[in-house]
């Protein structure tokens, strides 16, 4: 197994990238290796480092209130994934309470339905999502990954 391939699999095992991202990286690696007439180890053809580095690592939440209150949060995506995976282990009684409380606050998300594969998809989707809210009163909210 090549060092690059091994590194990608390590990242997958460590939860740093999703299965989909690992597949894309491995495909890119295989494509560059098969299409490459250059010697192995070429920095551009075989090295997945730029591809890995290009993946967003943080989720940013920025709130700029018209009254001058600002909130800026930077969350590692591995933490988001780890937190979401934790939801599948929360005891059913506690989870029902969480779901009820969230529903009361207008967020009817049922975490009981979260499966590990859904979480990977969610994270992959999150990496490509950007939310921009400009409120009438001048408040702005931005959520994005970078």
């Amino acid at each position: 197994m090549s060092a690059d391939r091994s590194r990608i699999l390590d990242l997958l095992a460590g939860g740093k990238i999703t299965a989909e991202e690992a597949e894309r990286l491995l495909d890119a690696l295989a494509a560059s290796a098969s299409g490459a007439k250059e010697p192995a180890g070429s920095a551009i053809k075989g090295d997945p480092e730029p591809l890995i580095a290009a993946l967003p690592k943080y989720l940013y939440v920025k709130v700029l209130a018209a009254n001058g209150d600002n909130v800026n949060v930077k969350i590692p995506i591995v933490l988001v994934r780890s937190g979401l995976k934790l939801t599948s282990l929360i005891p059913p009684l506690a989870m029902d309470k969480i779901n009820d409380t969230m529903a009361e606050h207008g967020m009817s998300v049922d975490f009981n339905n979260f499966k590990p594969e859904d979480i990977d998809e969610l994270i992959a989707g999150l990496r490509e999502t950007e939310v921009n809210v400009d409120a009438k009163n001048g408040d702005t909210v931005r959520v994005y990954c970078a």
Partner: protein, 94 residues
């Protein structure tokens, strides 16, 4: 799993006052956290054993605990900043 957070860097800036910067050495808490973790894991293991023997569907307290510690370990790199017209607070987990 990443290296657990080592330091919490806290900065508070207020107008016309000296800025405050604190490095809270989280690594000093590790030995205490380890003792608590071992005790909690022992209790969770017993609880899971009892739940399993009783035939309950949920018996994952031990895994929940381990994953919770792993999640705490992933907090490294998190940054929280908030500011208003009077105060700016900057908190970084390193």
């Amino acid at each position: 799993m990443n290296v657990p957070p080592l330091v919490l860097d806290l900065r508070v800036v207020r107008p016309q006052r000296r800025p405050v910067r604190l490095w809270l050495p989280l690594f000093l808490l590790w030995p205490f956290a380890l003792v608590l973790a071992v005790l909690a894991l022992a209790v969770a293991l017993v609880a899971d054993g009892v739940l399993l023997a009783l035939g309950r569907r949920y018996h994952h307290y031990t895994v929940l605990l381990v994953r919770s510690f792993a999640t705490l370990g992933e907090t490294r790199g998190m940054v929280i900043r908030f500011s208003n017209q009077e105060t700016a607070v900057d908190m970084t987990v390193q």
